[in-house]
């Protein structure tokens, strides 16, 4: 017996309380999105859907959404190519300094976002690069790449080398092996990595602050509005939307990798 009856009851109650603590704030935002009043106080006086329309028609929100989607997709695309290549290189090769290089790849996630942010900012201003959507994409790609890299590498380590050897023994050339054996084996890990990368990029504030010029992504817009306490009804709607957009890819990614990928908690901030 690992725990007595009362210990079990107490532990179960504790677990329930922690879950409530974790989820109550998130659910609360969805309530506020339907708030009839434009003053954010509790209890909300009534329910309405009018803020959804006004938010959708707000040109600033639309511009920010567009930029977020563009930057997220582009950064994910860059991360997919570079992250997978890096994972293959590290997995296959055994060259001098391999451990150092593999440590290097996780650095953008391990260092606080503000360090990555001001480092890139200093680099861009030093090199005379004007801040634009391209610098945002470059900034996001640094940590998105790590997520893809981690996912693909973990899968490569779990796949058996004998499968590839068998294909080669049966006369497949390098390209055929890649297309018919390796790719099907790692495809879900690649897709999961991409989903996580997009979710991270879509929610990123700090690196974006230092790499975006005057334009804002959706999180930057939210940050500005909360900070100055304006247009909060629209913030409620946008924030609810962002929660859904970041959670849904993660749920799909978790299904694809059996939960492994999402548990390697990447903290890109």
């Amino acid at each position: 017996m690992i725990a007595g009856f009362w210990t079990r009851v107490a532990l179960r109650a504790w677990a329930a309380l922690i879950l409530l603590f974790l989820f109550f704030p998130i659910l609360l935002i969805f309530f506020y999105a339907f708030n009839t009043s434009n003053i954010e106080s509790w209890p909300i006086p009534g329910l309405t859907t009018r803020w959804f329309g006004s938010t959708w028609n707000d040109p600033d929100v639309r511009a920010a959404l567009l930029l977020s989607v563009q930057a997220g997709l582009a950064a994910t695309a860059v991360a997919l190519v570079l992250g997978s290549c890096a994972a293959f290189a590290i997995h296959r090769a055994s060259f001098f300094g391999r451990d150092a290089v593999s440590l290097l790849f996780v650095l953008p996630l391990a260092l606080p976002g503000i360090i990555t942010g001001i480092a890139l900012n200093a680099f861009f201003s030093f090199g005379g690069v004007t801040l634009s959507i391209w610098t945002v994409i470059a900034g996001h790609a640094t940590f998105c790449m790590v997520v893809v890299y981690n996912n693909v590498l973990a899968r490569l380590r779990r796949t058996q080398g004998s499968l590839i050897e068998a294909a080669m023994d049966l006369g497949a050339n390098g390209f055929q092996v890649f297309r018919d054996v390796t790719l099907p084996l790692i495809s879900t890990a690649v897709v999961a990595g991409a989903m996580l990368a997009f979710a991270l990029s879509f929610d990123e504030v700090i690196v974006t602050t230092f790499t975006a010029g005057s334009q804002s992504t959706l999180p930057i817009w939210i940050f500005g509005q909360i900070r100055h306490g304006i247009l909060l009804p629209e913030v409620n709607v946008v924030v609810s939307f962002v929660i859904l957009v970041t959670i849904i890819p993660v749920v799909i990614a978790a299904r694809l990798t059996g939960g492994g990928g999402t548990a390697r908690v990447p903290a890109a901030r």
């Binding site: 079990r8 179960r12 677990a15 922690i18």
Partner: protein, 266 residues
Amino acid sequence: MAWFVLIYLASLVLLLITAFWSIDPFTTQIVQVWNIDNFRIILTDPTYRTIVGRTAGLAALVTITDVVLAFPLAYYMAKVASRRVQSLLFAAVLLPLWASYLARVYAWILILNHSGVLNWSLQSIGLPAANIGYTNTAMWLVFSYIWLPFMIIPTYAALERVPDSLLEAAADLGARRWRSTLDVVLPLALPGVVAGSIFTFSLTLGDYITPILVGGAGSQFIGNVVYSNVGIANNVPFAAALATVPVLIMAVYLLTAQRLGAFEAL
């Protein structure tokens, strides 16, 4: 791909070099003369000592809070709950982690503000309002909330690896349950707890968004000073020098964690 890594590394090195430069106070142009003035100011000016102390102190407090909140839940997940409940709880802990960071901070602004849920609940059961919005207490609460899953998961993973047979052996040898928890479970779970604390500590240390959004007048963090020096004061050398402080603190922390065997538990 190599050039991408190179850009990143070059940026970091450039940042470190910049820390040893200074700016011309009139033109705010960077003067490329080697000096350690930035570091001297950080070490001698009591303002910066207070800020570094506040940041590290709150990071430690948040870490301790999260250990206390996470351990019983992790223990329940690993040792008491059925398989099904276990995987459900695991997913339930991971989900908030991925829900937007800003959204979760914002939710607490809604809860803690003057006419928010907290004050309403307190008043409806006859207690006085707790006006803790925009204070260091609010920061402590919000940080503990946001980073809690980072503590639960490694602690759970470590506890999961403690074989039940060890606990049974302790019981057979006459240890009471609390005794076996203290002498058997805690030492084996320690690497997991330390691994979690790396996240909670370093994430709090580097943050500046939460202090801006839920902190008050005396809530400046290292990150806030770095942020305003890059954005408003345009003193990148000083910002770079100050940014080395959390990196150094983390380096010491990681070395200690490595000794405690936390890296195997990551």
